[in-house]
Symmetry: C2
Subunit: 368 residues, 2 copies
């Protein structure tokens, strides 16, 4: 069998981590990489993440069996157009890693039809605050959703072939319609981002005349504005390429605010209570408590006393286990302290750890 060539455009965190994941299961696959910046290109080559690099995207595309575009959304669309102008291998598979999918799928269908090229949209749902090839992590996608959004250029072989090549990512592959992807991420990610940045903007404006805003901003406000600190470029591209869904969610949300306003004006305590209680019950029902969705982590809850070194004692018991995160859950009222939440990367570590804590301490342990 001839050596297959996977060409990854963009050797940032996502592209370079995909390269490592492919190499884990397929040391035989040859990986080529494009990157505009020199640093990540050099690091990816030196560390053996890729076998060959270029700063000229089109130069290596004609020889590739699979092309993975892991560049910003607008660049992805531009590269799809560029690919339409050069000869590519027969049966080449093209995919991408952008955060919105409909516009990208539309661009692929627009530029690549009737060329014998197969295309499927891709969205590996993982990330980090780190960036660049130097931050690449072979486990970045472990248990994370990796969404494929089929196009009319997706054949019966496209997704199975990609799943096979990407098996070393240990991701959870899933297929969704591109428009539905954008609707769902619009609701749980893109629109909330607009909310967070708007709240931050509002509070900052208010703080000019009400200086205590700065001092009293607490846990709740901090949580609600955390994502407002994200890199603006990516979120601008998301709003530009998923406008209809986000606009619709904004209008829907304004009506909900109007409804709350009306209840406040009517001094309708019962209905206000129902409103808050509904949100509370719905959140408790959500998978959010079972697994952190995209993060795909496994959580253990331990009811520890508020004692010095309690966390240390637990971690000593779990020495050698891959603890992804650990924190004391701040809940309710004006938040402080509570239940110790430990996050693991897989169910095996979770269950093993629950057993260890249960047999070695008197603390209550929950998995929910």
């Amino acid at each position: 069998m001839k050596t297959r060539v996977v060409y990854i455009a963009g050797l940032g965190l996502i592209g370079a981590s995909i390269a490592l994941g492919i190499k884990r299961d397929h040391p035989d696959v040859e990986i080529w990489g494009y990157n505009r910046g020199e640093d990540s290109r050099r690091i990816a080559l030196e560390k053996g993440m890729v076998d060959r690099v270029t700063d000229d995207f089109l130069s290596l595309a004609p020889e590739a069996d699979v092309i993975i575009l892991a560049v910003p959304i607008q660049q992805t669309i531009a590269f799809l157009q560029d690919l339409s102008r050069i000869p590519l291998k027969k049966d080449v598979i093209v995919t991408d890693a952008g955060s919105t999918k409909f516009e990208i799928v539309k661009a692929a269908e627009n530029y690549l039809t009737d060329r014998g090229i197969s295309f499927v949209g891709g969205h590996p749902m993982a990330g980090s605050h780190k960036s660049g090839a130097s931050a690449a992590d072979v486990n970045l996608f472990e248990n994370a959703y990796y969404i494929f959004t089929p196009s009319n250029l997706t054949t019966d072989q496209t997704i199975p072939t990609l799943k096979e090549i990407l098996s070393g990512l240990h991701a959870r592959f899933i297929e969704i319609d591109a428009k539905e992807h954008d609707r769902v991420t619009g609701q749980i990610s893109h629109f909330p981002h607009v909310l967070a940045s708007s709240l931050m903007e509002q509070a900052a404006d208010y703080a000019r005349d009400h200086e205590m805003v700065q001092q009293f901003a607490a846990g709740g406000f901090r949580d609600m504005t955390r994502i407002a600190e994200s890199e603006p470029g990516m979120w601008t591209a998301i709003l530009m390429t998923n406008p209809a869904e986000i606009l619709e969610r904004i209008e829907d949300f304004k009506l909900r605010l109007d409804k709350v306003s009306e209840l406040i004006r009517q001094e309708d305590g019962d209905q206000i209570w129902n409103f808050f209680n509904h949100g509370r019950l719905k959140r408790k029902e959500m998978n959010i408590h079972k697994r952190a969705g995209v993060d795909s982590f496994y959580d253990l809850f331990v009811n520890v006393p508020d004692e010095e070194d309690a966390i240390l004692g637990i971690l000593e018991l779990l020495r050698g286990t891959s603890v992804v995160n650990i924190h004391i859950n701040e809940e309710n009222r004006e938040d402080i302290s509570g239940i110790l939440q430990i996050t693991f990367k897989n169910r095996e570590d979770l269950e093993k750890s629950a057993h260890i804590i249960e047999t070695n301490t008197s603390y209550q342990v929950f998995i929910d």
Copy 2:
């Protein structure tokens, strides 16, 4: 000097923790407690938090030198009215612990004028997901803001006397106009709560037709809806007693959403970028990074490698230090991992710990 009597109405988490705080600096002060439910009454008495208890609020009020109302807002207002009907000690000081202040101050001025009673509103800004006297913690208010909102029944002696009696809480006492208190907490607490519950309601409704909402809800969404799980009763009372400020913030916010919608419709990428970047810069500027406002915690940031037992290694170095919380900071994109954030209860522990980590590891340490 005669033994002073402090009468605390409500032996829940707040009332019972205040009792412990008073006893710490003033073992000589006699503390009496009212509580409707029997459990907290019994626990507070058995554990010596209070010296005497009742389930009849008015019965002990006439003999008290200081009355602290630590019951729900509506109950606080009802008790102020009840107090107007019975004889109280000359120069008695009445205060409360409610989350909104203007309505309570107004009620006090309305019911207690011309009686020789002095009143100041109070808002100790701390809490926990735990409740009842059994959760009482002498350190609950350590470094937390304790806000006084003067009324026209506040004399020159009212606040100094309360500060002296409450010195054992180790809180940071601060005076603000009641209306301004409600404006500021409306912006950074009450209105964000409406946002979080509305977002939760919207996503739950959307999930009925778009089931992947459940699966893909990730870190950002989780953070933004966390406070929606709070106990509905308290938040209903807050909306009922701070209606004008919250309504005004809702209308202001809708205009901000309209502005974003307009930018999306105009496909104005530059202005969308500016919008996100503004939120980012403003949040970075906020005190939120220095100290968690209300929580009043001190944070240390350690750039640890993504290695097994890295957290354990750090905690071993800090054995015996009062670590309030520890977690890996999830930032940016689709969040995973990052910087280890350790929260301490005071600056001394923070600085000592920073020094210990710096001298015993090669990790970068930040205090910001």
